[in-house]
Amino acid sequence: MTTALEIKNMSFKYNTSYIFNKFNLKVKKNDFLYLIGLNNSGKTTLINIINGYPCDGDVYINGLELNNKNKDKIFNFTNIIDKDKVNKCKLTNIIDKIKELSGDKYDYYLKDYKLLEVCNNNYNQLHLLDKIKVFLFISLLENYQFLIIDEIIDMLDSSDKYIVYKLIKKYQRVFKKTILIISKNADGIIYAKRILILSQGRICFDGSINDVDKKDNLFNDLSIRLPFIVDLSIKLKLYDLIKEIYVDEKRMIKDIWKK
């Protein structure tokens, strides 16, 4: 099975200092990854490189080497969604676009995405939150197999983040997409299958939500604030009140007070 993304021995230098030095990363197809990139960790450079910026080493997307010859094929497969794309999108008719992509299920999708109220508006007139929702929604329905979502979810408040992450997770499963979310914080790690931390040009954590408490010190050292429910789980585990990391508050409450 080919990988969605493979970066082999990639090096990149800015002036005289290395931002990446023999960096490696493999992303399996249909995976849901969350990459925490701290300030000045190299995340913008990494995105530029995935976008085709020249570097030393090899980058493969969907099994194809990233070069000028393959660029068109690769970007029919991959969509990098960032603040600029969301803000500068030229979409004029949201409802027609959604009908075109989702056929007779469009009504269900609009309700599911809480977009019924805004779907008749012009994209440019929408609030940022709705722009993000519309853009993500259309990208998930389009033929792209690999979506890289660069920092835009950070702009939402906690309840809107929850809606967006839930929907991404659902549609990732339904449409079998590969998702890579890039963020400067750990807010959405509970939704991802695989969590990575990029710090000073290298991956210093690669695991699932259940591995987080084994590396609790690493998160503390890097001052990464864990989502409330994960942080509380780790603390209550120390008191022996629970045995695992929870991602659902209701289940945690039930288990704490069941005795």
């Binding site: 300030n39 950070d154 914080n185 604030r225 409330f228 509380l232 603390k235 409450i253 039930k254």
Partner: protein
Amino acid sequence: MEKIILNGIFVDKFTNFRKVLVDMNINDMEIIKFDNNKFVTPSLKIFFQTNCVKNISDKKINQSLAMVGLNEKKINDDPFMFSDSDKYKLLIAMSLINNRSNYILVYPNLYLDDYNVNLILKILKKISREYRKNICIITNNIDLLYRECDNLIIYNKNKIIYNDKRNYLYNFKETLLNNNYPLPKILEFISLVEKKQNIKLEPTFDIKELMKDIYRNV
């Protein structure tokens, strides 16, 4: 009021916040708001000369850069080439030199990671304590505000739905919920425990205190 904290939804609504600030007679303020055009300048030195209210020595610039953790930057560096987080920190360094009574930080969490948000808040809180300055954070991150700030003004859909000390926020949870506004995660959990188990945990902003309270109530 020692500190004034606003919590809004979108940066687009900033003009409305400005009106709120004017209504509250907040003047002598430095608004720290990210704008990439501000950094189109050939060097750090010219950036500071353009944006600071008074003439400023190289020594003062270096001191201010060091305070926000930008020690490695040089006076002749091109600020446009900095990362967004360093640009935001540069705005704070410049604001510190201007020495205002009120600092208004617009969406720091969009540009800074947790480490740098903590670093900047630590510096500003120290200045606030020692020199009696007011700090106002405008953001849609209610958890950050509830954890860090003394007072909260929650502004939603063009109206203020809460304006009081953070300690009383839990008593107004219905108001927030009725306005479709999220509670801070820690209060949401306390509220859920009360609803599901009929156990009243003490509202707190400190997760360690919550943990102890859960232990006492199990």
